[in-house]
């Protein structure tokens, strides 16, 4: 899957999870940039991404995510 297509689908998931249609994701975006992005919604986000892309992360991968750019790369690597 193209990186652009991953970003498009990921944006939809962000908007759904954080209930905010105005969210636009950027590579350097972190939890600090989104009001509702707390540790709990982080897990909701991860589970929604797993379901949306039909992939599965390990605990370590989830804990080590630094920003959205890394998230996109991780998804891309899983999709192979």
């Amino acid at each position: 899957m193209e990186r652009g297509e991953i970003e498009r689908q990921l944006t939809e998931i962000f908007r759904e999870v954080f209930d905010d249609q105005s969210i636009v994701i950027r590579d350097d975006m972190t939890a600090a940039d989104v009001k509702e992005w707390d540790s709990f919604n982080h897990i909701n986000l991860v589970v929604a991404v797993e379901r949306g892309f039909r992939i599965r992360f390990t605990t370590k991968e989830v804990n080590n995510l630094a920003n959205v750019g890394e998230f996109v790369s991780l998804i891309a690597s899983k999709l192979g």
Partner: protein, 586 residues
């Protein structure tokens, strides 16, 4: 979960305050419960306790939990958290289960002393890891055997405590499959109670019980006959041609009939609504040797060619129950949709094409949740049959007074006592129509009234007549506050409407007012979606309105000196059956 953010509460007629306490993360249950209960007409206010702070909140009488004033306290213990404690208890493995059980019981005790809330205690999902494999069962201190024993203990302890109900999470997990129930990564990441996709099931299970505590229970199952209760069409195939019995094509129907008969034995009324000629339709119930359900099992039997919604309405009127307390089973999608369309309150489950799956399809919906089980339930079907015979007599009597006299009614009026408490609470939860204030007191509230005889005069009434015992059919809760005697609650089972029970009770209320030196009886009407029937209740007895509210509610006052005692056609007796001289109930 998204629906939870924009939930429509406009159709909700009552509010229930639910507190969630867990040693796992259960945040998502809050929106889920709100949505699921709103669909049942209940507005849920949900309090989410701090993560893993159940003991701190329960044992501290000044905690936020008690400030929230919960109606229901949900305690969800996770097996993953329990497992950790088990691993840490290597010194005292044999006593571990007992310790956990004792701690749970002490939570219940603390809750009972600080709140009258119903406690909904979850049991534990059996762990998937087995230290000895199958041999675990022979080693009582293995984790698996410990959890299994703990679940039995929770059930046993709850049997002795009416205010504690069990939340059978283990049943949900084994239904889904333990392999899929828990996502260990989510436990690692955020101490999730279970895999997120199964949380709706947990919420549904809680909502089912909470709705039942709020009086939302199914009271009657209305049954189609042809291809629902037996295979084939009785009008075409005749009694010998229909499929019913323990073998072959009749087996699924035989099994369904057993399932329904068990429901009847626990107090759910069965009614028949069939498009058939009456004599043809009832024949198998009378004579077919393989029928499980007999004529006497059916509270109301309607077989004619009128539209089913009309017949269901008439069954509802005969039984005096709400449409939302009825389930309609019919194999025909056309009839199901017709009933859904005309009577949206009636629960109409989809029935699968294969009759072998009928029982499963019904059972999966968990429609018959209960919060108590009393002698009254076991006898309910008989009570309704006696009522039908009374109606026959009534149609033969032209004079209502003569009819009432001929019933030879005997009535007991007494203060609440431990023996009758579960039925009293059940009536408080279930009565909707003849209910002046609809205050849903729980068992702890009633006990508190029993223990404060100077503040409360809580009465129940039991009625019997020559056709049978109607059991405990009315509750009147009074508060003497001289110069007024206040009526806090007044409710009655609609089964005994028109017999003059309320007239008898009013005479006794006024008598009590005089004993307490009260000049007036003050009553209140709080309108709900279902209690219009008693809007003018106080007016009938000569009360005058002293306050009328925009929502239709009103406060009524009776000057005791002007009260004309009502004519009654029943004799006050004691529990033993002796005539009342003065039974001291006041």
């Amino acid at each position: 979960m998204k629906e939870g953010r924009r939930v429509d509460l406009s159709g909700c007629t009552r509010t229930v305050r639910v507190a969630l306490l867990s040693d796992a993360t259960v945040n998502q249950l809050v929106p889920l419960l709100t949505v699921l209960l709103a669909r049942r007409g209940v507005r849920a206010e949900v309090y989410l306790g701090e993560y893993d702070a159940t003991e701190l909140e329960v044992f501290n009488e000044h905690s936020d939990l008690y400030a929230f004033r919960p109606d229901v306290v949900v305690i969800l213990g996770s097996t993953n958290a329990l497992r950790l404690k088990y691993y840490g208890s290597a010194e005292n493995r044999a006593g571990f289960g007992d310790e956990v059980a004792a701690k749970i019981e002490s939570l219940w005790r603390a809750l009972a002393s600080h709140t009258s809330a119903v406690v909904l205690q979850a049991n534990y999902v059996l762990p998937y890891e087995r230290q000895f494999g199958n041999f675990d069962h022979k080693v009582p201190e293995s984790l698996y055997a410990t959890v299994a024993a703990l679940n039995r203990r929770i059930a046993e302890m709850a049997q002795g405590q009416a205010q504690v109900l069990v939340n059978d999470v283990e049943a949900l997990a084994s239904y889904v499959g333990r392999k899929h129930w828990c996502d260990e990564r989510l436990w690692t990441l955020c101490k999730a109670f279970c895999s997120f996709e199964h949380l709706p099931l947990v919420a549904q299970n809680i909502a089912d019980v909470v709705a039942a505590t709020a009086g939302q229970v199914v009271k009657c199952v209305v049954l189609d006959l042809d291809n629902t209760l037996w295979g084939g069409v009785i009008g075409d195939d005749g009694p010998e041609g229909i499929a019913i019995g323990p073998y072959g094509d009749g087996e699924p129907f035989h099994r369904l009939q057993f399932y329904l008969r068990e429901l009847k034995r626990r107090g759910i009324l069965l009614a028949v609504c069939s498009k058939n000629d009456y004599e043809v339709a009832i024949e198998p119930f009378r004579t077919h040797p393989e029928m499980v359900l007999r004529e006497a099992d059916i509270a109301v039997f309607v077989a004619n060619w009128d539209p089913k919604p009309d017949n269901i309405r008439s069954i509802r009127e005969t039984l005096n129950i709400g449409l939302d307390a009825m389930v309609f089973l019919d194999d025909n999608p056309f009839e199901r949709n017709l009933v859904r369309e005309a009577l949206p309150e009636v629960i109409v489950p989809e029935l699968p094409e294969d009759p072998s799956d009928y029982v499963r399809a019904i059972a999966e919906l968990n429609l018959f949740e209960a919060t108590s089980f009393s002698e009254e339930d076991r006898r309910r079907a008989d009570l309704y049959r006696d009522e039908a015979r009374r109606r026959e007599l009534a149609t033969s009597c032209t004079d209502i007074t003569a009819y009432l006299r001929s019933l030879d009614m005997r009535i007991v009026l007494a203060r609440f006592d431990e023996f009758h408490l579960s039925r009293v609470v059940q009536l408080l939860q279930r009565s909707n129509q003849f209910n002046l204030t609809t205050r849903r007191y729980q068992i702890a509230d009633c006990r508190a009234m029993m223990e404060a005889p100077d503040t409360w005069v809580p009465w129940y009434l039991k009625l019997a007549d020559k056709f049978g015992d109607n059991g405990l059919i009315s509750v009147v809760i009074l508060k003497p506050e001289p110069p007024d005697l206040r009526v806090d609650s007044w409710l009655m089972s609609c089964r005994v409407l028109g017999r003059g029970v309320e007239a008898y009770a009013m005479n006794r209320v006024v008598e009590l007012a005089r004993q307490h030196g009260c000049d007036a009886v003050v009553g209140e009407y709080l309108p709900t979606a279902k209690n219009r029937m008693v809007k003018d209740f106080y007016q009938r007895f000569g009360f005058a309105p002293v306050e009328e509210r925009p929502d239709g509610g009103a406060v009524w006052r009776l000057d005791v000196s002007t009260y004309a005692p009502q004519d009654v056609y029943m004799v006050g007796v004691t529990h033993e059956g002796g005539r009342r001289s003065d039974d001291g109930a006041g």
